[in-house]
Symmetry: C2
Subunit: 219 residues, 2 copies
């Protein structure tokens, strides 16, 4: 049974992992007969947003603790995961990927990436193990691969500003529909737009299901 690390970034699309994308990733992995290993960095969230009003709150939450809600308590500290223990790595999206796993939301193409995220992604690339990235997470991955002078094909859908920033960081952005995904066979990187362009869970699941199948094929 193939083991797929799923790196979460909180719980809620405005300040953490996009919940639908995360659950639909876990569903696709389970339906494919593989095993998900949820993980997240043990760091404070960049912020907390009230999802009913969309306004920032003054409270503090922890990325690992909130991610555990999506993982039903079965979550590992990202620092304890090695590429040698898993067959693939998937990053669901949500602003958490752009605020908690890296600083893309505030710093764009000059963003920094959480050191443990960069470490594990680097190990996967070195081991030629596949990485899947969903929604806005490919922007974070573009920063990681660009620093290694790798230039994979990737997508976040059709948003011109984000695509330009990804190309600036080193990726080769391709437009893609929500129900499809983009595969870079050479670098074993698979990406899908999900809620960057998606309107609801059914079409988002179609893209994520294809991404997970492709990640498992490459593993």
């Amino acid at each position: 049974m193939k083991k797929i690390a799923v790196c979460l970034s909180g719980c809620g699309f405005l300040d953490g992992a996009e919940i639908h994308e995360s659950v639909l990733t876990l569903l696709a992995i389970d339906q494919a007969g593989a095993k998900a290993v949820c993980c997240a960095p043990d760091v404070a969230q960049a912020g907390v947003v009230n999802h009913a009003t969309q306004k920032p709150e003054s409270t503090q939450r922890n990325v690992l603790v909130e991610s555990a809600r999506i993982a039903r308590g079965e979550i590992k500290n990202l620092k304890d995961i090695r590429a040698s223990e898993v067959d693939a790595l998937v990053f669901p999206g949500g602003f958490g990927a752009a605020k908690n796993l890296c600083t893309f939301a505030s710093e764009g193409a000059n963003c920094s990436v959480n050191s443990e995220v960069e470490r594990l992604a680097g190990e996967m690339l070195a081991a030629k193990k596949p990485i899947g990235a969903i929604c806005i997470a490919p922007a974070m991955l573009a920063r990681i691969v660009g620093r290694k002078d790798l230039h994979p094909k990737m997508t976040i859908g059709t948003d011109r500003a984000t695509a330009a920033a990804m190309n600036q960081m080193g990726a080769m952005h391709c437009d893609c529909a929500v129900t499809e995904m983009v595969v870079d066979e050479q670098h074993k990187i698979v990406t899908t737009p999900a809620y960057m362009t998606g309107k609801g869970p059914a079409e988002v699941f179609e893209g994520i299901r294809k991404l997970v199948a492709e990640v498992i094929r490459l593993a």
Copy 2:
């Protein structure tokens, strides 16, 4: 397009709505070509549980605000929903259903039910519109129907203590596998065990998909 109210109870299985069950309900509704209308009561959570340690926290959270995370911000206050506006009503599970929507977790068969939950469920029953209840939510529904001297067939899986409490409240409990559901045609009540017995999202989705299809057929 049929409109299905989905009543959430927070965001996280230990103190709110079970996230997988909630998202998989939204997926099944979208795949079936119906429209989900997420709602939740605007009340304080009974408590907050750290999902990484499973220990209670001293902070406060609001059921409507946390539910909005699952609904991606598109959520209505339960008090603003009338049975006349929707074709069906579904309650995902999680301890939120037994702690925030009613007090079954602490008071068992003598539990009280949130007044807006009881009001909307009562309107649905009176209008002969279907109600779906997932995981532990059938226990709450048993309290509501029992007080009206209705005795529908319902399931929470195979847990003997919960089944006995439901029968005490007025339901007729039937054992059921996670991938199946129980339909009471007369009262238009559909129930499935989900994570009361389920091991992962794939089998939980199978039961929920069947429940949603049946709820839509009865609507």
